[in-house]
């Protein structure tokens, strides 16, 4: 259960404070702050190498990163002390930029194991096979999956677009509280982008939130963000509304890069 703060208000769904993260000896995130509340959609934009994927991965607990300072709270709880599976069961979902292939594990079996693990942690019974199949097939249909893809091994031999759609299918079936989408739009053609965006929009609800990591504002034509943040050099250098993304599209990132250098 979410802890409430002293004055009785509900804590933010996700609170990142002064986060410093290193990979090997290189500091990637250098004091990042971000607050995400329920119902909100945040777009994180920025040039290559600015630390966008690092932020996404660190929230989900991917190994290979070292937090040197700061904290990440999810509903007031310290996420950094939790293993990736504990985070997932608490309601955090990461759609991977490069989804992993799992030889010999069928998509259907993979998703059912995940659903059961999450239900079990809530003290619920395992899902009945019939009920699960109904749920899965309904969700798969809206994402244009054919039954064959559910039978195949997870992401094995999938095209780039199929892998991304598979991530969104997992999101739809697992129904987390927070979805962190790491460049889910990259490598998609316009039709696939629409399908994926519809999937993400269908997930939007007042008690859920989305963090959308992207290079391009294109996906924001389909998934309308409440906030847009620009991440450069390991920090958020500017935050704004939808219009900031459009400005980035026309002006690029350089003016902000110059601005940060100037501000120092």
């Amino acid at each position: 259960m979410a802890k409430r703060s002293k004055n009785g208000t509900k804590p933010a769904l996700l609170e990142v404070r002064n986060l410093h993260v290193s990979v090997d000896e290189n500091e990637i995130l250098k004091g990042l702050d971000l607050t995400v509340n329920e119902s909100e959609v945040h777009a994180i934009m920025g040039p290559n190498g600015s630390g966008k994927s690092t932020l996404a991965n660190i929230i989900a607990g991917r190994p290979g990163y070292r937090v040197t300072a700061g904290e990440v709270l999810f509903e007031g709880q310290n996420v950094l002390a939790m293993t990736p599976d504990q985070r997932a069961r608490a309601g955090i979902f990461l759609a991977l930029q490069y989804p992993i292939e799992l030889p010999g594990i069928r998509n259907r079996e993979f998703l059912r194991t995940a659903v059961d693990a999450i239900r079990e942690s809530r003290g619920e019974d395992k899902i009945a096979i019939r009920e699960f199949n109904k749920l899965l097939e309904a969700k798969a249909k809206t994402l244009g999956f054919d039954a064959d893809m559910l039978k195949r091994n997870v992401n094995e031999g999938f095209s780039g677009g199929e892998k991304k759609r598979n991530e969104v299918l997992q999101l739809a079936v697992l129904e987390p509280k927070l979805a962190v989408m790491d460049e889910t739009d990259s490598g998609l053609d316009i039709d696939a982008l629409k399908v994926v965006s519809e999937g993400v929009n269908a997930f939007r609800r007042d008690d859920r939130a989305i963090v959308l990591v992207t290079h391009y504002q294109r996906i924001l034509n389909y998934i309308e963000p409440d906030f847009v943040h620009v991440l450069i050099g390991g920090r958020i250098v500017r935050s704004g509304g939808r219009e900031l993304a459009l400005e980035l599209e026309s002006r690029g990132y350089d003016w902000l890069r110059d601005a940060t250098v100037g501000a120092k």
């Binding site: 990979v23 290979g64 991977l96 992993i100 010999g104 693990a117």
Partner: protein, 488 residues
């Protein structure tokens, strides 16, 4: 973006002794022949079995040949063990009959029936496994065979080999030693001299055996060598699916198990032979455990015949076995599907031989090795294409998975081609459980140990799919139990 970390060392020590849940000992009276090996012992075993003279003579020939080998075991396998004193073992141990040999299950020692119940192999009429006829072998002696009547109606002979030697001497005499001659190798020679019992099966022409046949081998007695002999013949157009399961109690001393299996498939016949081998692997320091030195070979004698071996090897301190196919008939097919797991101090040197003699013969080899703890796993295989084997085909795939940093996986494939029309493919991989795969599963809520197990199970999927359904489930469970505490 992800930095490669040191491969995670996941060899948390586990108490293997308590993990091996088949390790109980059954208190029954055992009839032993004196320790040691000599002509008198061979004659005694033959006499105990009331064998005809030709059988006794065959055993003696094997014994005399064995003497010429001067206790020199084959040395080429990548396994090591202390010198075995062949005179310091019992070559005959049998549950002591209470009066005459049991004629029905009611006469079998209830302790033995209880032991099989505990192993999940009920022998009682009302509890029998559905659709599976079981020959229960306890310390190398067949104690009960279920569904005898139904099989008899179909014309299938399924009985202890000792019984077959008495009741079907022509069949046994024609085929015994025809695939694995008594001169074949050290252990097979020893087995030929002293084998105590085992299973015999004959499926007549055109008959599809109406149920799965199973032999469940149980070692109970201490300091006893175990020498079963299995002979399966599928006559023209016949089909049979046969499965063996094996367990043993936990003993501090190692036990020798040297079995021989011979399969013969005539024209258009098919034999499917599956093994779940779960002999006691020894404790976590490597003490005790079964030395599983087994010779298994099938001969596709007739045209269009097929022999398929599937094995899941999780037990034994040492495994030395190469279920093989001699593809003599034109268009015959040989298959070998294997999962071999070594944990703690287990050693496995296993693989297959595919000998292509006939035209258009085809073979497939899928071998999956999993090494954990300080286990050493070796795949050793031979594909030989003889000059007359026009258009032979072979596909081989060997995959090894390493868990932890103290284990080893080795691959030794031999290929000999003496006919230019042959097509051979060989693929091999060695990998670890990838950190990315583990993270991906965990990021969906699956706990680490379950995620590890799912990945390993996925690795073995292609082999498990070849097992009869119930046994595929059991194999999957066996893998999980054998790895418990090792991963995660």
């Amino acid at each position: 973006m992800v930095t490669p970390k040191e491969p995670k060392v996941i060899s948390r020590t586990s108490d293997v002794d308590s993990d091996y849940k088949w390790g109980f000992v059954t208190e029954i009276e055992t009839d032993f022949a004196p320790k040691g090996l000599n002509e008198d012992i061979v004659r005694l075993i033959s006499a105990k079995k009331q064998e005809p003279e030709w059988m006794t003579e065959w055993r003696l020939k094997a014994y005399r040949h064995w003497l010429t080998l001067h206790e020199e075991e084959p040395k080429w396998a990548k396994v090591s063990f202390p010198k075995i004193d062949y005179q310091d073992a019992y070559y005959y141990a049998a549950p002591k009959p209470k009066g005459d040999a049991p004629k029905s299950l009611d006469e079998v020692d209830p302790e033995i029936v209880a032991a099989f119940n505990k192993l999940g192999i009920p022998l009682e009429e009302q509890k029998k496994l559905t659709g599976v006829a079981v020959d229960a072998v306890f310390d190398s002696v067949s104690v009960a065979t279920t569904f005898q009547k139904q099989l008899e109606e179909a014309g299938v002979i399924f009985c202890p080999i000792s019984e077959a030697i008495r009741n079907h001497p022509d069949l046994v005499r024609k085929y015994i030693g025809s695939v694995v001659p008594y001169t074949d190798n050290f252990y097979a020679t020893l087995n030929s001299a002293v084998f105590s019992d085992g299973t015999f099966c004959y499926v007549p022409p055109g008959v599809r055996c109406p149920m799965e046949l199973m032999t469940y081998f149980r070692i109970n007695a201490e300091e006893t060598g175990q020498f079963e002999r299995t002979l399966i013949i599928a006559d023209k157009g016949a089909y049979v699916s046969y499965l063996e399961g094996c367990t043993a109690p936990m003993r501090k001393t190692s036990q020798l198990h040297a079995a021989v299996v011979e399969l013969i498939a005539l024209d258009d016949a098919e034999i499917k032979y599956s093994t779940l081998q779960n002999w006691y692997p020894g404790d976590k320091e490597g003490k005790g455990g079964v030395y599983n030195f087994v010779t298994k070979r099938g001969k596709c004698l007739g045209k269009n015949s097929k022999i398929s071996w599937t094995q899941v090897e999780t037990g034994s301190a040492i495994t030395w076995k190469y279920p093989s196919c001699i593809l003599q008939g034109d268009n015959s097919v040989g298959e070998f599907y294997s999962v071999a797991l070594v944990n703690n101090h287990q050693q496995a040197d296993t693989g297959t031989k595919m000998i292509h003699i006939g035209k258009n013969t085809k073979s497939t080899i899928i071998a999956k090795g999993i090494s954990a703890g300080e286990g050493q796993g070796t795949y050793r295989g031979l594909v030989r294409i003889m000059p007359g084997a026009e258009n032979a085909r072979n596909f081989t795939r060997c995959d090894s998975l390493l868990i932890g940093s103290k284990c080893g996986a080795h691959t030794t494939p031999y290929i000999e081609v003496r006919n230019p029309t042959a097509h051979l493919e060989h693929e091999a991989t060695t990998s670890r459980v990838s950190e990315d795969q583990l993270f991906y599963l965990m990021a969906r809520g699956v706990p680490e140990e379950d995620a590890q197990y799912m990945i390993i199970n996925g690795f073995c999927k292609g082999v498990f799919a070849e097992l009869p359904f119930e046994f595929a489930m059991e194999a999957s469970q066996l893998l999980k139990v054998s790895l418990e505490g090792t991963v995660g």
